[in-house]
Symmetry: C2
Subunit: 128 residues, 2 copies
């Protein structure tokens, strides 16, 4: 798949999920326009489109909390992207490691260490 095959929404944007390649944690979800995706592919610096600032947003350009992009993957229908990154510093502007830190529904049965999969399957999947 290439940039031209991606499906952007009515505003010319595509959702981007950003994952810490080292830990597997989902760090943030943002949007990108075609130019931001292209810049990401060319520079390996995670780049988005800021809806509030209405402009291109190179993550960490101000804060220094940049994201080096190891891979970019589209989903099955080409309307969503996954950036796997090496995160420098916290991903969240609040200083939190991940932007996802406000629980609506807490863990009920999520057991630690169950099955010992521990991201292994994910790495195998990322390799094949």
């Amino acid at each position: 798949m290439n940039l031209n095959e991606l499906k952007f929404d009515a505003n010319g944007l595509i959702p981007v999920v950003t994952q810490d390649a080292r830990t597997g944690a989902v760090l943030m979800q943002a949007f990108a326009d075609a130019a931001a995706v292209q810049r990401t592919l060319e520079t390996r610096q995670a780049t988005y489109y800021s809806r509030s600032r209405q402009g291109q947003w190179v993550k960490g350009a101000t804060s220094g909390h940049t994201q080096r992009v190891l891979s970019v993957t589209a989903d099955c229908d080409g309307d969503s992207l996954l950036y796997r990154v090496e995160q420098t510093g916290p991903a969240c502007h609040t200083g939190a490691y991940s932007c996802f830190h406000q629980p609506l529904l807490a863990n009920e049965t999520e057991a630690e260490g169950q099955g010992g999969l521990d991201g292994t399957l994910e790495r195998v999947y990322a390799t094949i």
Copy 2:
């Protein structure tokens, strides 16, 4: 944070990132309306809003490939959700484990087994 504090877009939708709680893999990205989020919170069955079918979509209702929701977390500004799930069968309608399987930019330096973190930090983070 609760349902009333979430920020839905002009179409009444919020992006949802769905992650396999066992492996850390990002399985899919979809959208939910308030009713779908509420149903997810009440039933722990991952529920979305299908933009193509314009209706509520209980994942796996037809295919049997359901997602039991272990936790729901909002991001810092309440305009994106993370469902951590136990996935039954493949997440993707193509039969792939994850919907994210179309590379635009391949791994350059992502090393297998580097540092042995293997999702451990992510689980620690999810716990604290």
